[in-house]
Symmetry: C2
Subunit: 328 residues, 2 copies
DNA sequence: TTGTATGCGTTATCAG
DNA sequence: CTGATAACGCATACAA
């Protein structure tokens, strides 16, 4: 592979001149510029990125931390982030934690090693004080997640409110035996949603039964089957359920319930969260989360921070919206 | 940020000794080793990766080229590749081409710039001669795709055979008015599948109608709706359809057809391809493609090539398998 | 407008 | 076992 010196030699100029041409600096005579360009062409030269990075201390790479790559919510989120970053000249390194806090820490190390310029955390498992120390090495942006301290730049999604919208909707529709399905994963997202469920029911003076709290991990269509099984074994049937795992699980439940001849929503109302394509197809009610917007905003945020744009808005908020369809 | 010299100074040794300790070389007295380790701890030192990369000429990064990130087939594929690469100490850079051959070329440039050690192509849009020139900069592995020349190391998936399995199954089940839905995307995958459809029908002496060739792009549940619309407008109804787009589209079609009161499979048999989770939930027939296996094999293949393992198997094959369920 | 020299942080060679 | 030194490829301060 040819380097800057080879070009310099061939074009009869100094390495610095080659560098100037490559980086489009002014003050290069058109004659030499021409010669350099010709030499570059002849030797099929491209600058070595590792050298540039060592020299500049920048990588133009951003790491995206997510629990799962192949996932109804994180899939489109990654896509949105990646697209925006790409438009701004950044590449993306994928870090799948599988909800393992050790892995999260491991990937955070990349910031320290200057392997990436910044971290986009779409998941946050570790305690704030363990993450904090990495901030000295580069910016960290929270995307759709949040830490209770909220000291990080964040695209803030109020999951408590999102869940509350769903529950309030069920209550308004007249349901009064409301069940709740959710993942047991320990994070603020699920905790907020659960709290919203508890609070809303209490405020409405509705019965709260332990058996109506269904814990099934993951947001995945097949998980809907498990929820159905659990549901159908219950001594007293609820008349509605909010599936906080997400629309995949909710959609699975709709399909499975119908397969078993249950009438949705008369026998059981179902509402999910995210507004994924499948919920539209099934005409399932859900609470929309503007995933593209979240990803795009978070990506812009980290770029702004890295490029020290004046206009940095360290905290952006994004809103849930009820999408009422046929299953409630 | 501290560097190797700082450590050397603090530990009263030479930079080379520090390097030896960091890289676990033998021949370092335990006394000095101890001192170095202490200094590293004290200064919170980590080696600068860009420097290592410049020096070594390796990056330990592999680029994954895919058309879409958020996709029923490519999602799990990325996951499998990423997981395997990660186990072997490689990171992954995501390159979404959106089926744009320009972008494909653009990303291929990363190989030339030594930004990545190798490329995993899960999509191939450019002509072979345009891709070939990049081979001098690093290995390229085809994953689930293929070029007619087949000169690249490949995890070979016989899409002709995969489609043939589906069609033959329909024929065996006694259907004789078989329609075909597929994406218009121009690539070998879809062309092979279509050819299989045509060949199988001809061989079985079954009628072949132009209107039964339905072209709808993408593999996405909502696309199932469009297929249904087109299907229901047909002057003469087929009694079965193979949805070559994939299981998402096929599942969408199943749901939509049932929503409109069609009986599947009596009125219309439906078979998809991929065996994605939703097809299990819907009890939909499909042809299984071992996505995990494809990803894992491809990842191992590129690692073997990069690490010059003797046992490199430049061409691995992987097989489709009929999964007969309730929709055929 | 151009060239020289230096340093970015590492590792490897070689001499001791 | 250890240390000095060169080299990886580039960008830039400075000199001309």
């Amino acid at each position: 592979m040819s380097n800057i010196k080879d070009i310099a030699k061939l074009a009869n100029v100094s390495p610095s001149t080659v560098s100037r041409v490559v980086n489009n600096h002014p003050y290069v005579s058109s004659v030499k510029k021409e010669a350099v360009l010709k030499a570059i062409e002849a030797l099929n030269y491209t600058p070595n990125i590792s050298a540039i990075r060592l020299k500049s201390g920048k990588t133009n790479i951003i790491a995206i931390l997510i629990p799962y790559i192949d996932h109804g919510y994180f899939g489109p989120l990654i896509k949105a982030i990646n697209e925006t970053l790409s438009q701004h000249g950044y590449m993306t390194i994928l870090c799948e934690t599988e909800n393992d806090s050790e892995k999260e820490l491991y990937y955070l190390e990349m910031l320290r090693q200057k392997q990436v310029d910044g971290m986009m955390m779409c998941t946050l498992l570790n305690k704030w004080q363990d993450v904090e120390s990495f901030l000295q090495y580069g910016p960290i942006v929270l995307c759709g997640e949040y830490s209770e301290e909220r000291v990080l730049p964040t695209v803030y999604v109020d999951h408590y409110e999102g869940a509350a919208i769903a529950i309030r909707h069920l209550i308004e529709q007249g349901y009064n035996k409301i069940a709740y399905a959710s993942s047991r994963e320990k994070n603020l997202v699920y905790e907020s949603r659960k709290q919203a469920y508890l609070d809303c029911l209490q405020k409405a003076n509705l019965p709260l039964k332990d058996e109506w709290l269904i814990h099934i991990n993951q947001d995945h269509v097949l998980v809907g089957k498990d929820i159905f099984t659990l549901l159908s074994k219950l001594p007293e049937q609820p008349d509605a359920i909010f599936v906080a795992n997400g629309d995949q699980a909710a959609a699975g439940l709709v399909i499975e319930a119908q397969k078993h001849g249950w009438h949705v929503p008369d026998q059981l109302a179902i509402i999910g969260i995210d507004n994924q394509p499948i919920s539209e197809l099934l005409e399932m009610s859900t609470v929309e989360q503007p995933i593209d917007q979240i990803g795009t905003k978070a990506a812009k945020l980290i770029v702004d921070i890295l490029e020290e744009n004046q206009s940095v808005q360290p905290n952006e908020q994004v809103y849930f919206k009820l999408v009422s369809r046929q299953t409630t």
